[in-house]
């Protein structure tokens, strides 16, 4: 194989006029000029590869950064926050010396191209973020959004995504305990595959991504580096190599969960022996990201010998090695006298580990190939000094018309028969139907600590077998609400996740988010984004739950059509004793059903308006975060003191959806009475926020209503757990069997 001369630093300095394919690598002209200005010369091919990938939207947050700052500026005082935004994942104190790290990320675009591997590697990436903090991963959650349920392409994408999440997560031994599955035509060409993970560690075991201490060794371990996910780097490669190399490479990375399982075990063993000074996983931008971030967060510089990177494909160019997104790799910084032990642990787990460099006392990141220097940069300029854009944003001109198209004016059912028919239609609609066909492809038992898993309101994991200490997590988002009003929509997502954690009895502590939007170059989308971030930051401040980290996914659009703005919010909570948890299912006949909160006529963006009228317009439900906080306090107290036996949050689908789910899960029905001041339709279908349905044992009724009364939370008795039907007095009766068929047959019929 013949080669053109290596593009070394020296060569670059001597050939200032060589044109590099910066545009093909996604850089704008002014961005490229900035690189030249930083370096004082043209970049080498390898340097250009690093800058282009680290300055991409995905890695640099260049469009979103100016807005995301609010999460820090408006962060509530919170003693529980141990590590905040900026690290691989945030860390929260949950008591008894335990710390919990959690994060949600997107893997949207790859999952559309190649559903199985895209979704699988999404799980792999988020799990490595958790390991990199020093924690043992204990659970995953997956908020998913697809195109119309009956669209033929949904049948390609969804089963692949679900199998990928299951195939990877199940093989890693991580219980899948929560998430969502939502269908909407707006996601047809842009499914949202968000993946969240939780990890647990002791406070003293928190690890950070930084390379400090001159002389410390940089160890790359895990899978060999191959040509997958190198995307644009192949352009560079084609200029430095002849045609004799393999040309077709997958743009989407391929996952190997078995390798990742080994990586988890050997990393945790190395942590336990205190062998690691700093650590970083290799995700997007691979070695470019890991080396520049480790070096820029540490006190010194770093020298890396790229020849020492174990390869799957010996023809890879240095640029490709730097950009490769091969999965299941991590980078650790280890003191010299501990290197042998670290390598021995990797060997025990049959994990390949190689010293590829060391920390220097300078401030440069220098990378060598065949003995020649091909990268010589200030790592901070790569990792942190990327461009920041103040993208123009403007409230779209269609927003007023959308909000004026009031869903409250849609025709409502005129007869009891029609009301009953609409109830059946609602619970059978793809968004409201049981997702069992999907969730039963995920292992939710592994690790033996799962207390609650979907379809419960939040997933719950025991973290201490002696005390029963546990954590809960819920993820929620509603693109329809956010489309009507992004500020309120983001707060509704936060409120719902917060409420879902509280209905299971856990105290909400902290937030992670995954912000899925269209193109930031569209001022209307940018306005949606700005509004959603402002709403979420304000909401988190008011609820006292800081945002600990998260992810932004932009350019989710097909042509001119953007997805609904879809902020997905994850709330993490803590429960002192998981034995006090509250399930969704009705437990016992005779228990009294109470509706907590106020019910108004709020149908904008509702499931009813979508299912019955295929309508999206008006305003989303009002948000009252003080009420949400009070409701949560009541739910937590009632759970702790044994005053309620089941609880279910009310959100999309309203009360009737909650009653049907609780009844079907418990195998026991309910008799409902429409309370004074409400009509049956509003009671059943309104989506007013700040509400929950609880089942109260008769012996606890007085104590419970006294508590609600004293605290000022409206609690309305609306019925009793009873029989094998759901009956709304004076309106209709549906048997559990009818409801079960309606609720459970939809998804298998569409997708199996």
């Amino acid at each position: 194989m013949s080669r053109t001369p290596l593009d070394t630093v020296e060569h670059a300095a001597a050939t200032p006029d060589v044109e590099l394919p910066w545009a093909e690598l996604g850089l704008k002209k002014d961005e490229y000029e900035r690189v030249v200005e930083i370096l004082g010369r043209r970049p080498t091919g390898a340097e250009l590869a690093m800058y282009s990938v680290m300055w991409s939207e995905h890695c640099s947050y260049k469009s979103s950064k100016v807005h995301l700052r609010q999460f820090g500026e408006k962060a509530p005082e919170n003693d529980a926050l141990l590590v905040g935004i900026g690290e691989n994942a945030g860390v929260v104190d949950v008591g008894q010396g335990y710390a919990v790290t959690f994060k949600v990320e997107s893997h949207n675009h790859p999952s559309y191209v190649e559903p199985y591997q895209g979704a699988a590697t999404g799980v792999g990436g988020i799990v490595r973020d958790i390991i990199a903090m020093g924690a043992r991963p204990v659970a995953v959650v997956d908020p998913l959004r697809f195109g119309a349920a009956d669209h033929p392409d949904t049948k390609r994408v969804l089963p692949g995504v679900v199998a990928g999440i299951g195939g990877y997560g199940n093989c890693l031994g991580l219980p899948n305990i929560g998430g969502e599955v939502v269908f909407d035509a707006c996601y047809q060409g842009n499914p949202l595959v968000n993946a969240g993970a939780i990890g647990v560690m002791r406070h003293e075991d928190i690890h950070l991504a930084k390379a400090s201490g001159a002389g410390n060794k940089v160890i790359l371990y895990g899978a060999r580096t191959g040509g997958d996910g190198i995307g644009g780097a192949s352009i560079l490669a084609s200029e430095t190599f002849d045609d004799a190399k393999p040309s077709k490479r997958p743009a989407v990375q391929v996952g190997d969960p078995f390798q990742e399982k080994l990586l988890i075990e050997c990393t945790l063993e190395a942590f336990a022996e205190k062998l690691v000074v700093g650590i970083q996983d290799l995700g997007a931008a691979g070695l470019s990201c890991a080396t520049s971030e480790l070096a820029s967060n540490g006190s010194g510089g770093m020298r890396v010998t790229l020849d020492d990177v174990p390869l799957r494909d010996s023809t890879l160019s240095p640029e490709e090695i730097l950009m490769s997104e091969s999965q299941e790799r991590m980078c650790a910084v280890v003191e010299p006298d501990k290197v042998d032990r670290f390598l021995a642990i990797c060997d025990k787990w049959d994990v390949i580990a190689t010293v590829i460099g060391e920390v220097t006392d300078g401030d440069r990141l220098e990378i060598f190939w065949h003995g020649e220097k091909i990268v010589d940069v200030d790592p901070r300029t790569v990792a942190h000094d990327g461009p920041v854009y103040e993208r123009p944003y403007a409230r779209p001109d269609w927003q007023d018309a959308l909000q004026a198209d009031d869903a409250n004016k849609l025709p409502r059912p005129a007869t009891s028969e029609e009301l009953k028919d609409q109830v059946l239609k609602l619970v059978a609609s793809p968004n409201q139907a049981s997702k069992k066909w999907i969730t039963q492809q995920y292992d939710h038992f592994v690790q033996g600590n799962t207390v609650l898993a979907q379809p419960e309101d939040s997933g719950m994991i025991r973290i201490d077998e002696e005390s029963g200490l546990g954590v809960a997590i819920a993820t929620d988002g509603n693109g329809r609400y956010a489309k009507l009003d992004p500020y309120t929509g983001a707060q509704l997502a936060l409120a719902e996740a917060y409420r879902n954690v509280a209905t299971t009895g856990a105290k909400p502590l902290a937030v992670s988010d995954c912000l899925n939007f269209g193109s930031p170059e569209d001022p209307a989308v940018m306005w949606q984004f700005a509004e959603a971030v402002r709403g979420l930051a304000d909401g988190c401040k008011q609820l006292g739950t800081p945002v600990t980290g998260g992810n932004v996914s932009l350019y989710n659009q097909t042509g001119e059509a953007a997805i609904h703005p879809t902020p997905v919010v994850a709330v993490l909570g803590v429960i002192d004793d998981v034995a006090r948890r509250t399930p969704v299912a009705f437990q016992e006949e005779g228990q009294l059903l109470y509706l907590l909160g106020d019910t108004d006529e709020e149908f904008g963006g509702s499931a009813w308006s979508q299912v019955i009228h295929d309508h999206l317009g008006g305003l989303p439900p009002k948000v009252d975060l003080e009420r949400e906080r009070l409701l949560a306090e009541i739910l937590i107290s009632a759970s702790r003191d044994g005053m309620i036996d089941s609880a279910h949050d009310l959100s999309d689908g309203g009360l009737v959806q909650a009653v049907v789910e609780s009844a079907l899960l418990g195998g026991v029905g309910a008799r409902l009475v429409v309370p004074d001041g409400l009509d049956a339709f509003t009671l059943l279908f309104s989506e007013s926020a700040g509400r929950a349905l609880v089942a109260v044992p008769r012996s606890e009724e007085l104590r419970f209503t006294d508590m609600c009364g004293a605290r000022g939370l409206p609690a309305t008795r609306i019925g009793v757990v009873d029989g094998d039907t759901v009956e709304v007095q004076g309106e209709f009766t549906l048997t559990l069997e009818e409801l079960r068929r309606a609720h459970e047959e939809t998804i298998p019929a569409l997708l199996a």
Binding site: N170, F258, K261, D350, Q441, Y442, D443, F445, G448
Partner: protein, 226 residues
């Protein structure tokens, strides 16, 4: 006195800690065994737990079966050492020919995770003494390759000799022949099943039932009374 029960960790084993917990909850002492161990540390019984040993690459259990620890295990199992194979452990036992038949991919081609109803068909093995014959229990099931198959002669032999230990009830979750969920060897010391009894040992956790605990109390009683 109590019994020492080994749990083997292969690369890719997932339920090793869970199985150790179940053993502890039953009152026995769990002993961690590593797949590269060349001896069994004088344990009184061994559990091969669930997971994806070697990623289930090639065929579930096919590579793990050649791990160093399997040599003494096979030898001692043939001499009467009680061995329980759960899920991937069951697959390893068939690959090692300690139990007849084989496991194929689920007939519906999906991973399945559910709380599965079973009937105990043989309460006389080393691992089932605390159940009664015909007892119906719920044990979580979670697998990709759980379809038990064997030739007709072998199936007839298993039935005739009472070696079908567990059968799926209500739903056959993976297409296993004759609804077989678990089997035993002739001597009754080696038992394999696809469902996961270690995930049904504590109220509230997992399936919220304790129907799986008798596996571990059965073997403890048998060993202590021996």
């Amino acid at each position: 006195m109590t019994a020492r029960i080994g749990v083997v960790t292969f690369p890719g084993s997932l339920d090793d800690r869970d199985t150790q917990r179940a053993i502890r909850l039953a009152g026995a002492e769990p002993v961690a065994l590593w797949h590269k161990d060349k001896d069994l540390k004088q344990v009184d019984a061994v559990v091969l737990c669930g997971g994806f040993s070697y990623g289930d690459y090639l065929r579930a259990g096919a590579i793990a079966r050649f791990s160093p620890v399997m040599e003494p295990l096979i030898e001692q199992a043939k001499a009467g050492l009680p061995v329980l194979g759960i899920c991937n452990g069951f697959q390893i036992l068939t690959e090692a020919h300690l139990l007849p038949g084989a496991m194929l991919g689920n007939d519906h081609l999906h991973f399945v995770c559910r709380d599965q109803k079973l009937r105990v068909e043989n309460a006389a093995t080393s691992w089932t003494g605390d159940y009664s014959e015909g007892q119906e229990i719920h044990i979580p099931l979670k697998n990709m390759d759980g379809r038990y198959v064997a030739d007709e002669r072998t199936l007839d032999m298993l039935e005739a000799e009472g070696r079908v230990a567990f059968r799926y009830l209500d739903v056959n979750p993976n297409g296993s022949l004759r609804d077989i969920a678990g089997i035993t060897n002739e001597a009754g010391n080696v038992v394999g099943l696809m469902p996961h009894p270690e995930h049904a040992v504590e109220p509230l956790i997992g399936s919220g039932r304790t129907d799986g605990l008798p596996f571990f109390t059965s073997i403890l009683k048998k060993l202590v009374n021996a």
